[in-house]
Amino acid sequence: MFSKLIQEFFPRDMTTETDWTQISFEEGRQTLKKWRECGVRRSEEVVEIWEHVISRSSASLGDERWAVLEQVCIAALDSARVDLAQECIDQLHAQFPKSNRVLKLKAMQFESTEHYKNALEIYDRLVEDDPNNNSYRKRRVAVLLAQGKRLDAIKAINDYLKIFLNDPEAWLQLHELFLQENDIAKAVHCLEECVLIQPLNSMYFRRLGDLRYTQGGAENIDYARRYYERALKINPTDLRSQYGILLSNNQIASTTKNAAEKKKAGLAAVEAIDELVNRYQKVSPQNNPESDGILNCLEAMKVTVGSK
């Protein structure tokens, strides 16, 4: 879900891995800040940056230190570093002895050791204490998910959405749960809510296209094509939408009985292939030695699509 964000933040050569243990203090600080703000889940790397770079002179972070400690604590819990998480919680607790935010970290610590009951007790208390803070309610859903209680989680998110209707993250989670339940129609509904909340996010349109295409049937494929077109308009470099346009048009061209429609869809599919070919021609064969093979596949596809 965050891949687009990552791309925005790391536009340079993404295929080479950074060695996070060797970066400078300032670079480490900036990186942690970026990840904190976009909410990307790179727990192992966060722990690495903290241990090898930042922790040596964490005092020079100033007030940012507490936010970093919170971030590192969650990352440590996520990568099973119990010792480090405890260390962070101790420091935060000493600074903010009565903080609910620190209490939440303790509850998450219970979650990580599968003491779900203890965690839920804390979350219930926190929700009671601060009903407007949605993060505690979200943790309660997370506990259900960790236990694999899918139907309970669906119910809990539905309750949550009655209060916080405008939370795309919750709708996305719900859509995924419905997909696991094999209920694509309901998953579509969740995505439509996301579109209403953020009408300029191409990912939602593309995902709707994917869902409709998966559902199948002439009407849905037509919907899918339109969603992909919309997504591509918002984000013209989106490879997935481009592929989506190719797939949906190809499907229409091979199933429709209307000759004009068939021809139009065939042409659109060929056009999509041309765009894809353009894109792949710019790929460096050093990074991706298989790009030539994909190009050949696309050219072959063009011949079959064109002959329809």
Binding site: S3, K4, Q7, D13, M14, T15, E17, R41, D78, S79, A146, G148, E176, L179, Q180, N182, G209, D210, L211, Y213, T214, G216, L239, R240, Y243, G244, L247, R279, Y280, V283, S284, N287, N288, P289, E290, S291, G293, I294, C297, A300
Partner: protein, 213 residues
């Protein structure tokens, strides 16, 4: 397996009249494990490359596809047709892992994809599941379980595990954090510079782990 205590030992062989024996070579085995390690909080999917000789299926390679538990049709269709175009009948099956550690159920999205591959290659596909609870680094057991289609349902097939030969190498690979360099088809769609066949990574794996093929 759950019912084994009901049956006297005599019947045990009868219950498991398996057609296939599945052997996963060091390189695909490691790649599958690395795919799981790259996305510890998610389920993963991928395609298996190999050959069938009689009742023995040897997995010689794999193509990581996605890191979500419910992959939708468009990327799967694309990847399948690209991989089938490249490998033809060597496309033998599907691997997957569930997102939570204790969940050992068969994912319907995986079985559906396996059925699809059986259709595409007109030969029965095998399904390989990663047992997440065995992913701990010092585990000496086979982390993979294979399934074959039996009528309408999937049942466990026999696996041949020669892990003692390569687990040490795999551990070296994990220590080097090479899983961060792995790319699946979803990564490729985010940025086509990523090679989902993992050509460069495979070379590194062979070098670091000294796998003998």
């Amino acid at each position: 397996m759950r019912f084994s205590f009901i049956f006297p030992p005599l019947f045990q062989n009868l219950r498991f009249q398996m057609k296939y024996q599945v052997e996963t070579q060091a390189l695909p085995y490691s790649t599958i494990i690395l795919h799981c390690l790259k996305y510890p909080s998610k389920g993963v999917f991928g395609l298996l490359i190999g050959n069938k000789k009689g009742d023995k299926v040897t997995i010689t390679g794999c193509v990581p596809l996605s890191h979500e538990s419910t992959p939708l049709a468009p990327p799967l269709e694309l990847a399948t047709s690209l991989v089938h175009g490249k490998f033809g009948a060597s496309l033998v099956g599907v691997y997957f892992s569930n997102s939570t550690p204790s969940d050992t159920s068969l994912n319907v999205y995986a079985t559906r994809l396996a059925d699809r591959i059986s259709n595409v290659t007109s030969s029965p596909a095998v399904l390989v599941q990663v047992m997440n609870e065995r992913l701990v680094s010092d585990c000496e057991q086979d982390r993979l379980v294979a399934y074959e289609k039996d009528g309408e349902s999937w049942k466990e097939a026999k696996t041949i595990f020669q892990g003692s030969n390569f687990l040490r190498g795999l551990q070296a690979v994990i220590r080097k954090k090479l899983y961060r360099e792995l790319a699946d088809f979803e990564n490729h769609l985010d940025n086509p510079e990523f090679d989902f066949y993992n050509t460069n990574l495979s070379n590194k794996l062979v070098q670091v782990a000294e796998f003998r093929s």
